[in-house]
């Protein structure tokens, strides 16, 4: 979700296999660089493989260009990597959030074959995506400060995952401003 010169990216913490919960501290949001985060929902294995490939590509980019990737560029990279596997895809829906030029927030999501969806307010992905759309739409206001943004994102996340049996077991939120990255762990309904 986008705020005023900042963004928030949040995920739940459940690692499950169908009905069984295996772990309640699974990391789904990864840092690419200080101003770029990617959240990967879907199949855990593909999320890990995709993350490793993306970090690899970004490190190569850093070596060649001697700078960090812009979020828009990164989104195109992710889209290309996903479409490469068009007929044997990674079962992952990424959510990309970053601060671009002049620290302007950029968010985007895509489906599992790389169809980008840019938005100015919020993007969602995962098994609880329908609930998330509803909750975010209801709670979103433009130009929120980081504190208010963090509150809104927490409420939207917890409300949505409570309605989805495959999501939950807490929340993990990153609030990113041009100066700092704040990480919050939420305790919600632990079921």
């Amino acid at each position: 979700m986008v705020g005023k010169n900042c963004f928030a990216i949040a995920s739940d913490r459940r690692l499950g296999v169908n009905l069984q919960t295996v772990a309640t501290d699974f990391q789904r949001i990864f840092k690419i660089h200080d101003k770029l985060f990617v959240g990967l929902s879907g199949l855990g294995s593909d999320a890990q493989t995709l993350y490793q490939r993306l970090v690899f590509r970004h490190k190569l980019y850093q070596l060649r260009e001697e700078r960090d990737m812009k979020p828009e560029t990164f989104a195109s990279l992710v889209s290309a990597i996903l479409y490469e596997k068009r007929f044997g895809p990674y079962f992952c829906q990424p959510v990309i959030a970053g601060l671009g030029n002049d620290d302007k927030p950029f968010i985007c999501t895509m489906d599992f074959i790389g169809a980008k969806e840019l938005a100015k307010d919020f993007v969602v992905a995962g098994s609880a995506s329908e609930s998330l759309y509803g909750a975010c739409e209801a709670l979103f206001k433009p130009d929120m400060e980081p504190d208010e943004l963090s509150e809104v994102v927490s409420q939207a996340l917890l409300a949505s995952v409570d309605r989805d049996c495959l999501s939950g077991w807490g929340g993990h939120i990153y609030i990113v401003t041009p100066d700092e990255v704040r990480e919050k762990i939420l305790k919600g309904r632990m079921d």
Binding site: L15, G44, S45, T49
Partner: protein, 209 residues
């Protein structure tokens, strides 16, 4: 029907697995060791298709040894776990290994650790993990009784509770279990829990050959 589970205690990791080798309705043997030693301080407890299980764990074991020969130092548990996940992930879309793995190890710098590696190559560091139908019973028992920093006695008590639960509540429960432990002193077998012993076959002399 295969059950593998493990938990991290105070400076050690305990893994236990059933020891039945089964093919459809036939039990080939009841003392099949499914917990393979990777090196002096690591175990890989695997469950799944028997052929894949043996082949894959041996492959990992030999590659871990090769690393040590080439580089002069052993792999850390995390590195071994990530290598295993990489192999599973690479094979996933060609010729998947149907093996679920719990990788337990002890490193001098970081202490004991347990890694849960799915057959789809999902890797996660856990304090307690279980695979198979037995996991439905073990995980909740461990959730209730586990706390961080358990002593060996407390951990074995919990493992025995899990084994008892599996044997009383699982319809085709495995009769025998093996328990192994990894700590600062190395990886070794701790105990067997046997309710059925493999009877030895008649000796050739007795048959008059």
């Amino acid at each position: 029907m295969e059950c593998v589970f493990g938990l991290v205690g105070d400076g050690f990791v305990i893994v236990a697995s059933d020891t039945s080798a089964v093919n459809s309705i036939l039990v080939h043997k009841t003392n099949e060791d499914k917990i393979m030693k990777l090196d002096s301080h690591k175990f890989v407890a695997a469950s799944g298709e028997s052929g894949d299980r043996v082949q894959f764990t041996e492959y990992i074991q030999k590659n871990v040894a090769l690393y040590q020969f080439r580089n002069g130092i052993p792999l850390t548990t995390a590195a071994a776990a990530n290598f295993t996940r990489g192999e599973l992930a690479t094979a996933l879309r060609k010729n998947p290994y149907m093996v679920n793995i719990l990788l337990a190890g002890h490193d001098k710098e970081t202490g004991p650790s347990l890694y849960y590696i799915d057959y789809i190559a999902t890797l996660h560091k856990v304090d307690k993990g279980a695979f198979g139908y037995g996991s439905f019973f073990c995980l909740s028992l461990m959730d209730r009784h586990y706390h961080s920093g358990m002593s060996v006695e407390e951990a074995i008590e919990l493992v025995d509770k899990c084994i008892k639960e599996i044997q009383s509540r699982l319809v085709v429960a495995p009769p025998n279990f093996v328990i192994k432990i990894v700590d600062g002193d190395g990886a070794r077998e701790y105990a067997w829990r046997e309710s059925v012993k493999d009877t030895p076959t008649a000796q050739p002399e007795a048959l008059g050959v």
